[in-house]
């Protein structure tokens, strides 16, 4: 019988990194030692531990990484608690890829890019950022604005400090919500920080984070003269099938699992405000 998208394959967790007190990054490969499947930046996969449950996560590694896939996962419920308790060598099930991903080969090509993330919202953007690094000549200047509650809550901190900050034509701006000992960087919320930075309103923005952060950051960008057509963001709704059939993730006539999770902000205006 032909393949069915609901039937997963087995993957092995080959590395676990603690990013923050409640985020761990898991490296996953197939039983044959290769990636379970190919994906584009911004696409997602369903991970599960049989008997626990199954949930959707962004593939945070870049497709240009040929060896493995990575998932940065925040501990917040049944499955994610379980995943935070496993050791290297644990097998999980994987299916995907799902969703449209960011238009890296279309709208984003040749543009100066501004990445704005809050908290775990960096996960989908990291895939794009590393894709851009691997295809550097196809993209212009890169600005990264990333904020979280505290210094300890910055996901991928080592990679940001040691790799992104040293990349040519990359500008990295980090911020944390409250002052903290050992932190000499910026303090304050992302939307306010965005207004302080000298962003070029001609650039293209990729914006990911908690709904409230997206809302205020988008307002700040509009104030700075950005048009909604220049801003791409991701939506997060409860998902079960990932293929537009179980009826769980829709906003109006769109299924976030299949028509999203990436939307251009002007598209959101045409959708019911129910997210």
């Amino acid at each position: 019988m032909m393949n069915d998208m609901l039937i997963p394959v087995v993957g092995v967790v080959t590395d676990i990194r603690r990013d923050t007190p409640d985020v761990k990054t898991f490296r996953v490969v197939g039983l044959d030692g290769k990636k379970c499947f190919e994906h584009m930046p911004g696409q997602c996969a369903m991970l599960s531990i049989p008997g626990v449950s199954e949930a959707m996560f962004s593939i945070t590694s870049s497709p240009t990484n040929t060896e493995y896939m990575e998932f940065s996962i925040k501990k917040c419920g049944c499955l994610t608690d379980w995943l935070h308790s496993i050791d290297v060598g644990q097998q999980v099930t994987v299916r995907g890829p799902y969703g449209n991903g960011f238009p890296v080969e279309e709208d984003l090509k040749g543009k100066n890019l501004i990445f704005i993330a809050g908290g775990i919202g960096l996960a989908p953007l990291r895939s794009v950022i590393n894709y851009v690094r691997a295809n550097r000549s196809n993209y212009g200047k890169v600005t990264i604005v990333y904020g979280s509650r505290s210094m300890d809550d910055l996901v991928d901190f080592e990679e940001i400090k040691n790799e992104w900050a040293n990349e040519k034509d990359f500008n990295v701006h980090l911020t944390i919500d409250r002052p903290q000992e050992g932190w000499d960087g910026h303090v304050g919320f992302v939307p306010a920080y965005v207004k302080e930075l000298n962003l070029n309103a001609a650039d293209t923005v990729l914006l990911c984070g908690p709904p409230i952060m997206i809302k205020f950051t988008l307002a700040a960008l509009i104030e700075l003269g950005f048009n909604k057509t220049q801003v791409f963001t991701t939506m997060e709704l409860r998902m079960k099938c990932g293929i537009g059939k179980c009826g769980r993730c829709n906003i109006g006539d769109k299924y976030v699992c299949k028509d999203g999770p990436v939307f251009r902000c002007d598209q959101l205006d045409e959708m019911p405000a129910e997210y």
Partner: protein
């Protein structure tokens, strides 16, 4: 066209059931529902509406998807799918038959749902024209003629006979296998049947919901409809019981769950309802916290979102089950009318 005496129908059921599983409306625990036919079954072709619709034969209320064995850190995925065996579903009304076309648009569109597909391929649908449409019926609003249902074989009661008209290759094959039970209908029969159908269509026109106007609905004005203040009042008494979604032949939402069998894990899917408050619950809350929003979702999906994605086609067939079953007497007809779609 063929025919068979009503009092010989048991022989027909037995002949079909000898070769393949036969699903047919039966009284089970006092309620008509599709059930597997066996000797002594209490077949009920008189009741117009089974409680649950015929979709259950293609999209079961509960269905295994995949099994797992786990040992220490290891997981084995066991594809527990089976190619469906051939089966026949008999006594499907025109509205339910139409609902299969709507479910096809969901489950057979890319990526194909193989669980559904294999059943669709192996199932032969024998429809039954309605002799006596009821007060709650409004299939005609969706262009359905309950006197002339679709299907692989369409059947019609008239006088002493059940008339039998194969419509597809699958239907012809089944008909050929039953040749020794079926008589060929003559001109007189055809005329009688035509008259019967004319009668049924006249009854249809007298139904209270006949002429329900859907012209105000469809893909247009999505946001205007969504933002209407009417939803508040329409939904104010809704209990969120989900009855309307479970009896509905076109509702397709499902949940996926794992069951630990002790010696392995069974992942299965089961019907779910957008009327439930945990349907869209996530770690940071739910986008539809009120019953008004969940109520609106159900009807907007059927009357606006589905048409928007499917060339204007509605995701309702006017079977009237939700009209009969809602404990607070709210239903899609009232919603349609509230936005200016008038009845007769």
């Amino acid at each position: 066209m063929f025919k068979i005496k009503k009092n010989s129908l048991n022989k027909l059921y037995a002949a079909i059931a000898e070769a393949q599983t036969l699903y047919i409306p039966c009284n089970v625990n006092g309620k008509p529902n599709f059930a597997v036919w066996g000797e002594g079954a209490d077949v009920d072709l008189a009741s117009l509406k089974t409680v649950k619709s015929a979709k259950e034969v293609f999209f079961p209320q509960c269905e295994d998807i995949v099994s797992f064995k786990t040992k220490g850190k290891e997981i084995t995925v066991i594809d527990c799918r089976k190619e469906s065996e051939d089966f026949v579903v008999f006594g499907v009304r025109a509205c339910d038959a139409k609902s299969f076309e709507i479910l096809d648009k969901v489950f057979l569109s890319d990526p194909v749902d193989t669980f559904y597909k294999t059943k669709r391929e192996h199932g032969t649908v024998i429809t039954l024209a309605c002799s006596r449409p009821e007060e709650s019926c409004f299939c005609s609003a969706f262009g359905i003629d309950c006197a002339e249902p679709s299907g692989d074989v369409a059947t019609y009661f008239s006088g002493e006979y059940l008339y039998w008209s194969p419509k597809t290759e699958k239907g012809l094959n089944l008909t050929n296998s039953l040749k020794n039970l079926l008589e060929i209908a003559n001109d007189k029969d055809n005329l009688a049947l035509e008259n019967e159908q004319k009668n049924i269509r006249e009854i249809t026109k007298k139904l209270p919901l006949y002429g329900l106007d859907l012209s105000k609905w469809g893909a247009d004005d999505l946001l205007e409809k969504f933002n209407s203040e009417k939803w508040q009042e329409l939904s104010s008494a809704c209990l969120g019981c989900g009855a309307c979604t479970f009896v509905c032949p076109t509702c397709q939402c499902y949940d996926v769950r794992d069951f630990d069998k002790g010696n392995g894990v069974q992942r299965y899917r089961c019907w779910d309802s957008c009327m439930y408050n945990d349907f869209t619950m996530m770690a940071h809350g739910t986008p539809r916290p009120t019953q008004m929003q969940r109520f609106r979702q159900r009807f907007m999906h059927k009357l606006v979102y589905f048409p928007s994605n499917n060339g204007g086609e509605f995701s309702c067939v006017g079977c009237g089950r939700c009209v009969e079953k809602c404990p607070i007497n709210m239903n899609i007809v009232k919603v349609i009318k509230a936005f200016g779609g008038e009845g007769k």
